[in-house]
């Protein structure tokens, strides 16, 4: 019985894949050829004929290796993006939202008496002050999963970007769809998008 893994590795040459993925691909193709070889032998083919039939399954093994590498690397890139950007980003965004909700949920009594009432200044301030911690946690998670500098940076500022996007969406929805003048005063609210703290001195407390 031929060593199919060795035959495939020799024919494909160097694959641009990580060791584990490469071994998996070679093992899977070797299993296929082995089954085909055995089926040919069972139908009465000689050993050399069966090997020839099996190896003729690919006319250009190196081209097949390149094609498989491209597909597998695309899969790896998608997985990496999920692990290095989306997962840390969504985790820190969730943690940040939960942290914002906590004072409201436990009715942290610093001037506010009901859940629907605006939370007091201290709650927002504390949330804003601790925000870099969430960003740092996102960047750390991204780095732990092998994230590049850009991926770490993006994961770090992900909660801020998501919240800014939400704020813009709500403001524009209010302005263009509902024609709500209070949410539509874009020039008035613009500074608060970039400097959220600037509105505190004007708030009710």
């Amino acid at each position: 019985m031929p060593d199919w893994s060795r035959l495939i590795s020799e024919r494909m040459g160097v694959l641009a894949l990580s060791g584990a993925v490469r071994d998996e691909v070679v093992a899977e193709l070797a299993t296929h050829l082995e089954e085909l070889y055995q089926a040919c032998r069972a139908r009465g083919a000689s050993e050399s004929q069966a090997i020839e039939i099996a190896l003729s399954q690919a006319t250009d093994w190196q081209e097949l290796g390149r094609e498989i590498s491209d597909i597998k690397n695309e899969e790896a890139r998608t997985n990496d993006r999920s692990k290095q950007l989306w997962l840390p980003g969504l985790m820190t965004l969730t943690a940040s939202m939960v942290w914002l909700m906590m004072p409201q949920r436990v009715n942290w009594n610093l001037g506010s008496s009901s859940f629907h009432e605006s939370p007091p200044l201290m709650a927002y301030l504390m949330w804003l002050i601790t925000h870099p911690v969430f960003g740092a946690a996102g960047a750390y998670l991204s780095r732990r999963n092998g994230g590049t500098l850009i991926a770490r940076l993006a994961a770090g500022i992900f909660p801020s970007i998501a919240l800014l996007g939400l704020l813009i969406f709500i403001t524009f929805t209010g302005f263009f769809v509902e024609r709500n003048p209070s949410s539509g005063s874009i020039p008035h609210s613009l500074p608060s998008w970039f400097f959220p703290g600037q509105s505190f001195p004007r708030s009710r407390c």
Partner: protein, 110 residues
């Protein structure tokens, strides 16, 4: 509207169809397609595996290593919900194609 990438579409529909009832490994997928099409459709290893990996990337299939009763390890492919959802529209598309070809080329059923 019928897509132009007919060749790839044929292969994808054939693979999804044979996996509809049970998970199969690569060699068995190729064998069943050949058997069910009475030899008209034949997949070489070089055609089959890039396609399986692409379909796996799209989330249509999921491949996992399993050990058979004889101790041999094989990578078995399962149809995922996303792949199952693709089956019906693809079948309808192919039925449209065959109807159109019958009208144009005056081809009758075998």
């Amino acid at each position: 509207m019928i897509r132009t990438d007919l060749k790839r579409g044929t292969a994808e529909l054939a693979i999804l169809s044979v996996l509809e009832n049970e998970p199969l490994h690569g060699y068995e997928i190729a064998r069943q397609i050949e058997e069910q099409s009475k030899g008209a459709l034949q997949f070489t290893l070089a055609a089959l595996y890039p396609m399986l990996y692409r379909m796996e990337n799209r989330g249509w299939l999921n491949g996992t290593w399993e050990t058979a009763a004889n101790g041999r390890r094989r990578r078995c492919y399962r149809l995922m919900p996303r792949g199952r959802k693709m089956l019906q529209p693809m079948r309808e598309e192919w039925a449209d194609l065959f109807r159109a070809m019958r009208r144009v080329a005056k081809v009758s059923h075998a």
